[in-house]
Symmetry: C2
Subunit: 426 residues, 2 copies
């Protein structure tokens, strides 16, 4: 065993031990730790800012782009927002101990299914150091120990935040190891952690596709992936076309850098001629580039709509997650063809249909195999806060365990409890 491998095993063992201690921690005690965290975030702000300044300086040296540096920055405003986030988690109901089902079996056994923590969770993320606080507070509230592996650019900030959080745990009489930050930026450390299936119960990778793919391929531990979002707006044959414009603009442009922003607009042939020219003009006006199929191109040029930001799609266009002011546009023959396109090119994240016919809306919802399928609503609404879950740890594109926004409940599993008086199997 190498030193690194031994070090990671020690880290994971400590997390597993802490997870056991959390099994019996009361809500009050977990909330107390979160209260202390808010106090310490405030008290230790100078230390956090100094650590963050190191990261920023290192980032500048490495030539990180301005938006990246922006995402790294922990200033007074960001730290205040972090505290507000922790306060929200305090106010959310504790999922641990909630009964999912209860029955008395014919033999008199009282049988309950009760939510319990998952155990030790490894969360892998990139750059933004605020994820450290957000993820740690959600894990703690749901009774899980967490091991946080942030980006190497934010290592000093993450260390400083971990110190705050671990101090708060100890003040509340909980083991500091319930929240750990991987102190090394060595990529091999991650590989070591991904092997520890007896100690770590779940891996949640958040970030770029290559990171997630690497984790999925190397992990022996169950993983809940938060892959990219290639989200679709489908304008059906009987759509209210004014509504379709509003929803397309909102889905695409309300915030372009997020996974629930739309990337592709599918338009039923029957309304393409009436819909596409106005829609295209509106998008171009709003500085959105279009990558359009041949048929869309014909319709647009026939209607005299053209310009440098309307480009021909190529065969890879419809697999793009732009996260930018660009949209792919395609005419389809039918609702079924739209569903086929989404099956082939989508990422099972979020889709929406614009239709006046509830039956067709329902059919689309049945046929499309995505975490969230809307009728006449913006794809941007797929979000933990919008859904009333409170804070979310991310949006799962996996089908197992948790699908769509993952809040506190999704950070728990369940256990069967049977209370008897001598029941035997006969």
């Amino acid at each position: 065993m190498t030193d690194l491998s031994a070090e990671m095993r020690t880290l994971a063992k400590a997390a597993r031990e802490a997870a056991r201690a959390l099994l019996t921690a009361a809500t009050q005690q977990k909330n107390a730790a979160l209260e202390y965290a808010i106090q310490e975030l405030n008290k230790q702000r100078p230390a956090i800012e100094a650590a963050n300044a190191e990261d920023i300086a290192r980032g500048k040296e490495k030539g990180l782009a301005a938006p990246m540096l922006d995402r790294l920055r922990l200033d007074a405003r960001v730290i205040e927002r972090l505290s507000a986030g922790v306060q929200q988690v305090i106010e959310l109901p504790d999922p641990v101990g909630q009964e999912i089902s209860r029955s008395v079996r014919p033999n008199g056994l009282l049988l309950r299914r009760v939510r319990v923590p998952i155990g030790a969770i490894l969360i892998i993320f990139e750059s933004r150091p605020n994820v450290t606080v957000e993820a740690a507070s959600l894990c703690l509230k749901s009774g899980n120990a967490c091991i946080l592996r942030g980006g190497s650019e934010a290592i000093s900030s993450n260390r400083a935040l971990a110190k705050v959080l671990r101090g708060a745990l100890e003040k509340a009489g909980l083991p500091a190891a319930a929240i750990s930050v991987v102190e090394t930026t060595d990529r091999a450390a991650l590989n070591e952690l991904l092997k520890l299936e007896g100690l770590i119960d779940l891996v949640i990778p958040r970030g770029g596709e290559s990171l997630i793919r690497m984790v999925a391929e190397n992990s022996r531990i169950p993983t809940i992936k938060h892959y990219k979002g290639i989200c679709h707006v489908y304008v059906d044959e009987d759509a209210d076309l004014e509504l379709a414009k509003l929803i397309t603009v909102n889905s695409k442009l309300q915030r372009v850098s997020v996974c629930n922003a739309a990337e592709t607009l599918l338009v039923n042939r029957k309304v393409a001629q009436r819909f596409l020219p106005e829609m295209a003009k509106l998008l171009v006006e709003k500085n959105c580039e279009l990558r359009v199929c041949l048929e869309t191109q014909k319709i647009l040029s026939g209607a005299g709509v053209s310009g440098p930001t309307i480009k021909a799609a190529d065969e890879k266009t419809f697999d793009n997650e732009y996260l930018d002011r660009i949209i792919s546009v395609r005419v389809v023959d039918s609702l079924e063809a739209a569903a086929d396109h989404i099956e082939k090119h989508g990422s099972r994240h979020t889709e929406t249909i614009i239709t006046r016919d509830p039956e067709r809306g329902h059919r689309f919802q049945l046929m499309v195999d995505s975490a969230c399928v809307f009728v006449n609503a913006s794809t941007r609404l797929n979000d933990g806060f919008e859904f009333g879950l409170g804070a979310e740890i991310g949006i799962s594109t996996d089908k197992l365990h948790a699908r769509g926004p993952m809040g506190l409940e999704e950070l728990t599993t369940y256990k069967w409890l049977g209370d008897g008086a001598g029941q035997l199997r006969t």
Copy 2:
């Protein structure tokens, strides 16, 4: 791409397509296919028995032990039981479309979480060909396509059963590819299937530990494991010792070859002297061998209880899943020490505590991180039928998605459906 790899990809693609078709299949249509399956099982019995005779003959040639040959056998009685099992699945409620939650968001969006099929499921199992019919009918009822990979000993029987099932699907207007049997016994085929994470949504390995470990290490697809059961009976300091004897005997001996049979008896020091001599005598009487810790040995020899079937435990004793008339016995200092022992040696399957104090029972249930924790009841009760789930596909020892008995509901995932009237993100 090798031929085998191409062949497995074709198989998985067909399953994925069939899974899409099942998304819109009505309960009635799925039940009709199951009705036809019962009819065909009856009609094609001669063909099934002939195929099974081939397997039996091949098994005898290979020198399979008598119990193995027994498990292989598909005679009239077994086939009738299979039909009865399919009939039960027909009568179970269809989980697909069930609402898990429903709310109207402040913006008027109707938000529902609805159960949907998982998709294409690969089930890997050993020898017993009846699993083919059981697993396929559960998958079909829950709207999933399945790829079944049984043991090579049962290949002819499995092929014959697949023919019956696929015929039934077609008669009901459903794609035959909704149920496939891997036709080759080449082990490499399994490795190819485990790579197809875009096509297969879930892998359920059932069988020996080495098989499950192989799958867990090689799969890029989410897996729900059904590992061994090292189940514990813990006799607490205030236990009703008569009850403790009944529950120990039932947990250990009611049926020894199954995963929810107890393998280890833990006894609180405070009652060890009073409890162990009588318990040991009873177990010996019932032809159960004991592997006992030093302290138990002292107590037993002090009480004059000895014999050739009471042996000293070694350091590996407590990690054994005997599936036989053997039990490990250990004295522990406290409830906490029992929980520690279970954390170290258990398989997170099923445990039970015998206690008169509900508070201590509850504490044990909190502390022990297993799928099912009983108070004053036999470990043998952890079972889909006992829990009222109807048929089960197995008992999951994983924590994610499904824990404990996996019935129809556990073969589904969910999808978020949002019905709006133009809701946007602001």
